[in-house]
């Protein structure tokens, strides 16, 4: 890969990277901090009154989801965070060919003694590296937020039974509010499976839009197709989870490969299926890829898209800049 092209690509993406970094850091910190504002015990009462059907929209059970670990993990599934990660992938990926073509700078770059594949790989490499840094920033911010956040907990006063370890809570009395550090319950290491899954998804978006960009000459069209794909995939997942008869749709959406809560849950439980390619999902009654398999498949699709993009770019005509 050409160092000058990599430097140029970093320079071109730096403003967007700075914006996405700031957005992700601020959002992640705020999201984790918010978790500490609400006592988990209150959610338990809420679960009891929710209809059972709500459970189908999550890959894990509600009781785990409302725990501190579950609620912090849900940060990785927030639309705001996903859109920011996808924004980086889609905007930088679309710039690889059709973006440079639109600005008219591709011609002058390709007039230099470098292979077209080098131009493509340099751009994709920087976009993937940017995606990696962004996901690590999310993780780092989660770690910092966990370290700093205090949780407000309310407990009932209790009477300890002499000579035993048992204590009887006095629920008729006013609860006592106390502050504990979130780090006493959570450790940032617990979230690594979700972070890996997030990176694999962002790599997919970079690869997909780079491929679309290699086929197209207009960036606005590349962006339109990529954003359209994002929403169709999201709808397929929603449809697949909502109705039993449409469950097969889950096999056609890329978002079914992105399940950070499930990945963190399985890892935390020490479940053997965490490392397997396939697993039986009892909740949805279907065979699906295991966490490891989902990540591998996302990376394989991304690699295939990058290779296909390079092949198309190498053999296509480069129209004159307008």
């Amino acid at each position: 890969m050409n160092r000058t092209l990599i430097t140029k690509s970093i320079r071109e993406g730096s403003a967007l990277f700075a914006a996405c970094s700031l957005g992700l850091i601020a959002f992640t910190f705020f999201r984790v901090w918010i978790v500490g504002r609400f006592d988990s015990n209150r959610f338990k009462q809420l679960i009891d009154i929710l209809p059972k059907d709500w459970d189908r929209y999550t890959s894990v059970d509600f009781t785990w989801l409302v725990s501190y670990l579950g609620r912090v993990t849900m940060t990785l599934d927030e639309p705001m965070l996903l859109m920011m990660i996808a924004l980086w992938g889609i905007v930088r990926g679309s710039d690889v060919v059709s973006g440079e073509l639109g600005r008219g700078t591709l011609e002058i770059v390709l007039a230099q003694p470098i292979r077209r594949s080098n131009v493509y790989y340099a751009h994709v490499f920087v976009s993937l590296f940017g995606a990696l840094i962004l996901t690590l920033l999310v993780w780092g911010t989660m770690a910092v937020a966990i370290q700093w956040t205090m949780i407000k907990e309310s407990t009932f006063p209790a009477i300890k039974i002499p000579l035993t370890n048992y204590a009887i809570p006095l629920t008729f009395r006013e609860p006592i509010e106390s502050w504990v550090a979130m780090r006493d319950y959570l450790n940032a290491i617990m979230f690594w499976p979700g972070i890996v899954n997030l990176f694999c998804l962002s790599a997919f978006f970079v690869a997909l839009t780079s491929f679309l960009s290699a086929c197209d000459r207009y960036r606005w069209r590349t962006l339109g197709v990529a954003v359209g794909f994002y929403f169709v995939m999201a709808m397929l997942k929603f449809g697949g989870l909502a109705t039993d008869s449409l469950r097969f749709l889950l096999y056609f959406t890329i978002f079914h490969l992105y399940e950070p809560e499930l990945q963190v849950r399985l890892y935390q439980d020490g479940d053997a299926s965490f490392w397997s390619l396939w697993r039986w999902n009892e909740k949805l009654s279907l065979y699906e890829l295991g966490p490891c398999g989902a990540n591998i498949l996302l990376l394989l699709i991304s690699t295939a898209l990058i290779i296909a993009g390079v092949r198309i770019f190498k053999h296509r005509d480069i129209p004159a800049p307008v």
């Binding site: 320079r11 071109e12 011609e107 002058i108 390709l110 007039a111």
Partner: protein
């Protein structure tokens, strides 16, 4: 330096370049002429590997333009028509980029040319005028001592002073042994710097001629009383005579003028004037000018 053999390009049913066979020897400045849409840029873009040929083959510096694209580009320094440069870079950064991306890049030489063009390198490209951007691209292109320079409309948007400098740079490149493919609409410029010209019409290379032979072609207009003296055998191939009404005579001379004038000295001519034919007259033979039909 450039050799094309039946090179052609078709976009669907539209033929952008009819099979074209062209040879540009090492050290020659070749002027490529033709109106918009004649196929000049298509030919250049094929040579640069931006377009895949529909048929035929081409070699630049003995490298195949399809299979050895990197070698071809190592042999070429290319100035596109209305060059688009990186808008968020300063002029200096752009020159540094081009100097670094090529092994034969030469930043001090690029800076020297920029200075010669009186170009301020501090502003971002986005804030440069069209002429400044053109100068920047010229500095980047001429800084490379590649065996071949391909210049597509190099003097577009430039003032007469800078046009003169560009012509000087082309002459210096030729003196250094570089070949130049010079595409332009400005006939006087091409005539000034080119050794040979090629004229394209509707995607077809319709004419090739050396500029020296064009320069040797003259028209002589005069009024004659009596008849012309017998013409020497050695002048017959280069002189054509047209008698017009009222004793007017026009001679087309495609060669050395001196022996013809010596021959005409014996004739009783008045109001004689000699005018060079020039490239524009050759060009007009193939393209519409001011509503006239091509001959």
């Amino acid at each position: 330096m450039i050799h094309t053999d039946g090179l052609s390009k078709q976009f669907g049913s539209f033929v952008a370049l009819v099979p074209c066979t062209l040879n540009v020897p090492r050290g020659e400045v070749f002027g490529l002429l033709g109106p918009n849409g004649a196929g000049k840029s298509t030919l250049i873009r094929l040579l640069m590997g931006f377009l895949q040929p529909t048929a035929g083959s081409a070699h630049v510096n003995n490298f195949d333009i399809v299979r050895q694209t990197v070698n071809v580009k190592s042999s070429v320094s290319y100035l596109p028509s209305s060059p688009k440069l990186f808008r968020t870079m300063s002029g200096h950064s752009v020159l540094r980029f081009f100097a670094r991306i090529r092994r034969d890049g030469d930043l001090p030489r690029a800076l020297q040319i920029a200075k010669r063009l009186d170009l301020n390198l501090r502003p971002w490209v986005a804030f440069m005028s069209t002429g400044m951007r053109q100068k920047l691209a010229i500095a980047a292109t001429f800084s490379v001592r590649a065996p071949l320079l391909i210049l597509d409309e190099p003097t577009e948007n430039l003032d007469p002073t800078v046009r003169r400098i560009v012509a000087d740079l082309v002459r210096e490149a030729r003196a250094d042994g570089q070949s130049v493919l010079f595409s332009s609409h400005v006939l006087s410029e091409v005539e000034e710097v080119a050794d040979r010209v090629g004229i394209l019409r509707s995607g077809q290379l319709v004419h090739e001629q050396s500029v020296s032979s064009i320069r040797r072609t003259h028209k002589i207009h005069a009024t004659i009383q009596g008849s012309l003296p017998p013409i020497d055998d050695n002048l017959t191939p280069i002189v054509t005579i047209e008698f017009q009404s009222d004793g007017l005579v026009r001679l087309n001379v495609a060669g050395e003028l001196a022996p013809v004038l010596k021959w005409l000295a014996a004739a009783n001519l008045t109001d004689m004037h000699v005018e060079p034919v020039g490239l524009s007259a050759v060009y007009e033979r193939f393209h519409h000018v001011a509503g006239t039909l091509p001959s």
